[in-house]
């Protein structure tokens, strides 16, 4: 019943914004203009979201994100009798997977800030280990030096750093979810430079290794350093064709000392089955990543490669050093706006649904990602033991595809199918089956 109330409550603004008949004849660009302005020092406006502006001193934008997912797994989630949590308890078909409120803005021209909190625990009986999301202050000290302090995403990973509400899919790739660090508290220097090439650097130090590598909310590595450099360097070569010059490339790395114990990065299917257990680790966790993106007209292609090494000092049964644990992954994704037209930033249709004869925009996307767990060569036969010198490799290959229907700038509906195939047949979730399908229908409201 509570789920239904949430759906109805969320549907109201979505419908209002999507189907306001009074706006049908308006110019589409008017959507970005203020719909209400109270005037004076304190001005309340509605641009992309409710916003309060205090003269030139400060601005507060209110934001919210809601994801309503309908999910189905095949084969059905199943536990062998008497086995503790081989698979998670049968999930509900409907799940509220995002319910966030927050605000962001600036104070004078020197400070940007953001505050965001996940509220879905209020509506759902879920474990939310880190309800506070982006909470930071960014000090624009110099044109080439900004200092960001607080909690935000560790600068690593193209897909991870993108806003969740702008994803082409309901879920991030398994590579990103497994290997990118995600948010952490820290300090980061960053800025753009060499503007012609749109280069940007980010260098930071963080308290832990990021929330993605946590185990039930507990960090697995201590102080972590991260650096990232991105841009479109081919823009410097004016002789190149225009479609190539705006190729986006980037590289990033992180390094942090892990806490000793069974804290290695694990592999898990979308349905929650662990197919690669945490291994015993001690020493440094090092990530290296490369990213690439290209878009031309209605087409776009993105890809990423991530390599993670985890040391296993003194982790053998006899206390001997073990060869490093390695995890490697890559994905490539392509999208095509098959119906309608998207705005330049790719976050909303140029013409919203039901304005004139518009249906908004429909993008078709497909993604292939590969994730592999293994180790440097060591003595003895490969094994699945958490202290094996040579780790028996395992991994998964995931196809994700489906359409995204952008109704307007606030509302989109995604229908995704994900096919996961595990490589190690003895670590399969259900005996006799190595291929898992997940179907997701997501309704997203974001402003």
């Amino acid at each position: 019943m509570r789920s239904i109330l949430v759906i109805v409550w969320l549907a109201v603004p979505a419908i209002l914004f999507a189907q306001n008949p009074g706006e049908v004849e308006e110019d589409t660009t008017a959507q970005d203009e203020a719909v209400h302005d109270s005037g004076g020092f304190a001005r309340l406006s509605f641009k992309n979201r409710p916003s309060l502006r205090l003269g030139e001193i400060a601005e507060i934008d209110f934001k919210t994100k809601w994801h309503l997912d309908f999910r189905k797994f095949s084969p059905d989630i199943w536990n062998p009798p008497g086995v503790v949590t081989a698979l998670p308890q049968d999930p509900q078909t409907f799940q509220l997977t995002r319910g966030r409120f927050g605000f962001k803005g600036h104070v004078t021209k020197y400070f940007d800030y953001e505050v965001e909190r996940e509220m879905r625990k209020t509506f759902n009986d879920v474990n939310e280990w880190h309800p506070w999301k982006d909470n930071y202050v960014d000090f624009n000290a110099l044109s080439w030096l900004h200092v960001k302090v607080g909690k935000f995403k560790v600068p690593f990973g193209l897909e991870e750093l993108g806003a969740e509400d702008r994803l082409d899919y309901a879920h991030k790739s398994q590579v990103t979810d497994t290997l990118s660090p995600a948010r952490e508290r820290g300090v980061m220097l960053h800025s753009r430079f060499l503007r012609r090439a749109r280069l940007e650097y980010e260098v930071g130090v963080f308290r832990y290794d990021g929330e993605n590598s946590d185990i039930h909310g507990q960090p697995t590595a201590g102080r972590t350093y991260a650096a990232r450099l991105t841009g479109q360097p081919l823009r410097l070569f004016s002789g190149l064709p225009r479609s190539i010059r705006h190729l986006y490339v980037g590289g990033a790395a992180t390094r942090g000392r892990m806490f000793e114990g069974r804290n290695g990065i694990k592999g898990e299917t979308v349905s929650g089955f662990t197919y690669f257990e945490h291994m015993y680790v001690r020493g440094y966790r090092t990530r290296v990543g490369a990213e690439l993106a290209w878009a031309e007209g209605p087409f776009s292609v993105k890809g990423e490669y991530i390599h993670v090494s985890e040391e296993r000092i003194n982790q053998g049964i006899h206390g001997e050093d073990l060869p490093g644990k390695l995890t490697r992954g890559w994905y490539v994704t392509a999208g095509w706006t098959a119906l309608g037209e998207m705005k330049a930033r790719g976050t909303a249709p140029k013409t919203p649904f039901l304005r004139g004869h518009s249906i908004g925009a429909v993008e078709l996307s497909a993604r292939y990602d590969v994730l592999s767990f293994y180790s440097d060569p060591g003595p003895g036969l490969p094994s699945r033991s958490p202290r094996a010198p040579t780790i028996l490799p395992n991994g998964e290959r995931t196809w994700t595809f489906g359409p995204t229907w952008y109704l307007n700038r606030f509302l989109k509906i995604q229908l995704n199918a994900e096919r996961e195939k595990l490589t190690d047949i003895e670590r399969k979730a259900v005996l006799g089956i190595t291929t898992f399908w997940t179907g997701v229908l997501r309704v997203q409201l974001a402003m």
């Binding site: 086995v83 998670p88 094994s383 033991s385 094996a388």
Partner: protein
């Protein structure tokens, strides 16, 4: 030419290794004439964690069997990687990556834990002498540390399919951890070697409540996975024949009781096993003081017929004058057999007679076996500073002295000398 020579030498070397390795068999591991030596290497941190989670894991397993959702939080480690060494005739036969967890319920202890060693935990092909697993039983309830082995050896002597076992000195990270019994696990490999098939349904009886085959209704979940825990074929569970078996035990007409129940149970085998258990005065067994306990049930492939396999004889040799019909009335099957199936009681009486003959009296087989085993293990028991026992099954394990060991050995010898006559006397009086 040189590379060919290398190849030939390499081939001969590998062949030699193969022949060398194949020289050992499970018969060698379970050879009771030898006091075995087993060495386990485990990371000290893992062993500390093992002791922390020892009882939590048991609780979780029982909850999961009862159908309760066991949260993965907080994370509880129940399996730990070990290196397994068996010292055979001075040779070290090693399995580098095996898994262990704690074994037992009432016998569970952090001072001297029993272990289940699963060789195939991390790779299904990683068998040891063809075995998937063994149990290292700490015998924490038994001052003699021989009840289990003597009883199982006796059962096999009577032709009952029962696990093989031998005593072993166990070392943990090169520290003497005490005298243990290495026990053949009842698993699909055991079933295959004893019945020539393993694709039937194997169930372990997990004691959760007193039950004596009373009909608990038509819901299969009342019978399996608790108390009858499936051990194989987990994808396609087939508990319906269990329901039918229990219903038949309860509802078959008196006149057809034997024939009706024998569709589901190898009754000849069962009553021979009951006789053996009664002869060794096992207080915690199919007809023990806690209702059904300590057995496996194997349902043959493509049939509805099952056979019982004995397990855990720690509480054998309970008293000298253990009544041969003790607890017959509290179990539906034996109560009805006693009332309406003289053919089954005849099998039972004959089996008791055979057991008495096989055990012999003074100087008989049983006394010789107890004498042999006690001599074999005495020094190791004396050196075992962690040995525990629980006289009278109080549920509280306490440190056990060498005097208690000797007293229990003396009692077992007395049992061996007198039990046959006492059983014969009871047979003639009933």
């Amino acid at each position: 030419m040189r590379s060919r020579l290398h190849f030939i030498f390499g081939f001969i070397w590998i062949l030699g290794l193969t022949l060398h390795a194949s020289a050992q068999t499970t018969d060698d591991l379970f050879n009771g004439d030898v006091l075995q030596e087993i060495r386990l290497y485990i990371d000290p941190v893992d062993y500390a964690t093992f002791k922390q989670t020892n009882f939590v894991c048991l609780e979780q397993d029982l909850k999961a069997l009862a159908g309760e959702f066991v949260s993965p939080l907080p994370r509880v480690e129940c399996w730990f990687p070990v290196e397994f060494h068996w010292i055979f005739q001075g040779r070290d036969i090693t399995l580098p990556q095996a898994g262990i967890n704690s074994h037992g319920k009432g016998s569970r202890s952090n001072i001297k834990p029993s272990f289940k060693v699963e060789f195939t935990r991390y790779a299904s092909q990683n068998t040891f002498l063809g075995l998937r697993s063994v149990v290292l039983r700490a015998n924490t309830q038994d001052a003699s540390q021989m009840h289990e082995r003597v009883a199982m050896t006796f059962f096999r002597r009577l032709g009952i399919v029962a696990p093989r076992e031998a005593h072993a000195r166990v070392f943990l990270n090169d520290q003497y951890a005490g005298l243990y019994t290495v026990v053949e696990d009842v698993d699909p490999i055991f079933v295959q070697s004893n019945f020539g098939q393993s694709d039937g349904r194997l169930y372990a009886y997990e004691w959760a409540f007193p039950w004596g085959f009373d009909f608990r209704g038509p819901d299969p979940l009342k019978y399996s996975p608790l108390p009858l825990k499936p051990e194989n074929n987990l994808v396609h569970l087939d508990p319906d024949p269990i329901v039918a078996m229990v219903r038949t035990i309860n509802e078959a007409p008196d006149a057809q009781f034997s024939s009706a129940v024998s569709q589901y149970i190898d009754l000849n085998s069962l009553f021979r096993e009951l006789a053996a258990e009664k002869f060794v005065a096992d207080q915690d067994s199919i007809l023990g003081d806690y209702a059904l306990n300590n057995f496996y049930l194997y349902r043959f492939l493509g049939t509805i017929r099952s056979i019982f396999i004995p397990w855990d004889k720690s509480n054998a040799f309970w008293t000298l004058d253990w009544n041969i019909f003790h607890n017959f009335g509290s179990n539906v099957l034996t109560r009805r057999a006693l009332a309406a199936a003289p053919d089954l009681i005849a099998i039972y009486r004959n089996a008791l007679q055979q057991a008495a003959d096989a055990a012999g009296g003074p100087g008989g087989w049983l006394e010789q076996e107890i004498t042999k085993e006690s001599q074999q293990i005495r020094q190791s028991v004396y050196e075992d500073g962690l040995k525990l026992c629980d006289h009278g099954a109080t549920g509280i394990l306490k440190p056990c002295s060498n005097d208690e060991f000797e007293a229990e050995v003396a009692f077992m010898l007395q049992f061996a000398r007198q039990r046959s006559d006492l059983v014969r006397a009871q047979l003639s009086s009933f």
